[in-house]
Amino acid sequence: SVPGYNYEVYHSLKEIQNWMYQLNKTHSDLIHMFSIGKSYEGRPLFVLKLGKRSRRYKRAVWIDCGIHAREWIGPAFCQWFVKEAIKTYQSDPAMRRMLNQLYFYIMPVFNVDGYHFSWTDDRFWRKTRSKNSKFRCHGVDANRNWKVKWCDEGASFHPCDDTYCGPFPESEPEVKAVAHFLRKRRKQIKAYLSFHAYAQMLLYPYSYKYATIPNFTCVESAAYKAVNALQSAYGIRYRYGPASSTLYVSSGSSMDWAYKNGIPYAFAFELRDTGHFGFLLPEALIKPTCTETMLAVKNITMHLLKKC
C-alpha cells in the first residue's frame, strides 16, 4: 500500500501522518483522508474513510486506536487493518464485500498529543496533554471524558490521577471532535471499535454498570465468534464479555457513549499481551497480534452485514 513502509515496527506520529498522506494520494479509489478537528496542542485529528466510493447509501464502521498514548499496539493495528484492506480488496471476496458494502472510518491515532509525548518524553504517558488551571498535572483520561455517566464510579475528579475525567464532559478537543462526528453520523454507523492494550479481552457495554444491554444476544454472539476467529490464528485466547464484569466498572467511556448514542455494536479490544511485556510488546509480535485481530474484526463486520 505504501512502498517501503514497515508495518511490523512502531511509528512516530509524524511517520503515521505521512503514511496517511501517501495513501490518500495513491489509493484515492479506496481511501479519503480528512481532519475532524484539532487536538489540544493544535495537531490535526486525521480520519481515513476506507471503502469503495459509491453514490449509493452505505452503512459504516468506526475504528479508533490510540485513545491511551502508551498503548502503541493500537495504532499499529489501525495501520495494519488499512494495509490489509487495500492489499486484499481484489483477492479476498470477504474484504471486497466489506469495502463495497460499507465505509470504515479509521482514526489511527486518537490522542495525538499524548502519543507524540510518549515518543519524546514519557513512554508510559496515558492521558491527553491538556493543562489544568489549578494543578500542575497535565491531561485527562480520554476514555473517562465522554458524556455517559460522566465521572461516576471508576473515574477520578483529581487532575493528577490517570483516570481523571476532566473538568466537564467532552472537555478534551479530541473527544469533542469524535463525539461530534459520530453524533452527526449516528444513523450510518453500525459498529464502533476501539483498540486498547493490554489484557487480551474483547469487551462490550456496559462499562459503567452491571446490566445487560437490550441486544445482548446479537452482541454476545458477535463477540463469541470474533474471539474464536482470533484464536484460530495462533491459539491466543481472549476473554470476552461486558466490560463492567470482565474488566472493571468505569464511567465516561467511548464505548458506552457510542452504544448510548445509537450504535448497536460497540466493542473495545484490549490487545496483547497479558502482562509479560505489557505496553512494551516487542515489534516481533506486531504481526501475529494484528493478524489474529484482523480475523476478529472481519468476523464482526461480516456479522453486521447479516441480519441478527
Binding site: Y10, F124, R126, G154, S156, G275, F277, L281, E283
Partner: protein, 99 residues
Amino acid sequence: YLYNNRYAGDKVIRLVPGSDKETQALKSVFHQLKVDLWQPSSLSYISEGTVTDLRVPRNSSRVLLPYLQQANIQYTILISDLQQVIEKQTGLRSSRNRR
C-alpha cells in the same frame, strides 16, 4: 539512550493482594511512592485477587521490595530493567538513531 535513559533500573512488578488488609496496605504504600499503575488503571480498582502490574522507579524499588518481603506479600518481577526492554522494543529504531 532512548528517553535519556530515564527508565534505567526501573522495574515492573506483578502482585495479587491476598486479603483486604494487604489491599489497604498496598494502596497506602503505592500512593506514597507514586508508582505508575499499568493495570488496573487506578488504585480504586485494586482489591483482593486483583492482578496488579506496576512500574516502580529505581529509587522506589529500594523501599517497596523490602517492604513487600517484610509484609510477606508475594510479587513477581515482570521486567527487571525497563530501559533495556524499551531499547529492545524499538530495537530497529534505536540502532537507526544511534547510526
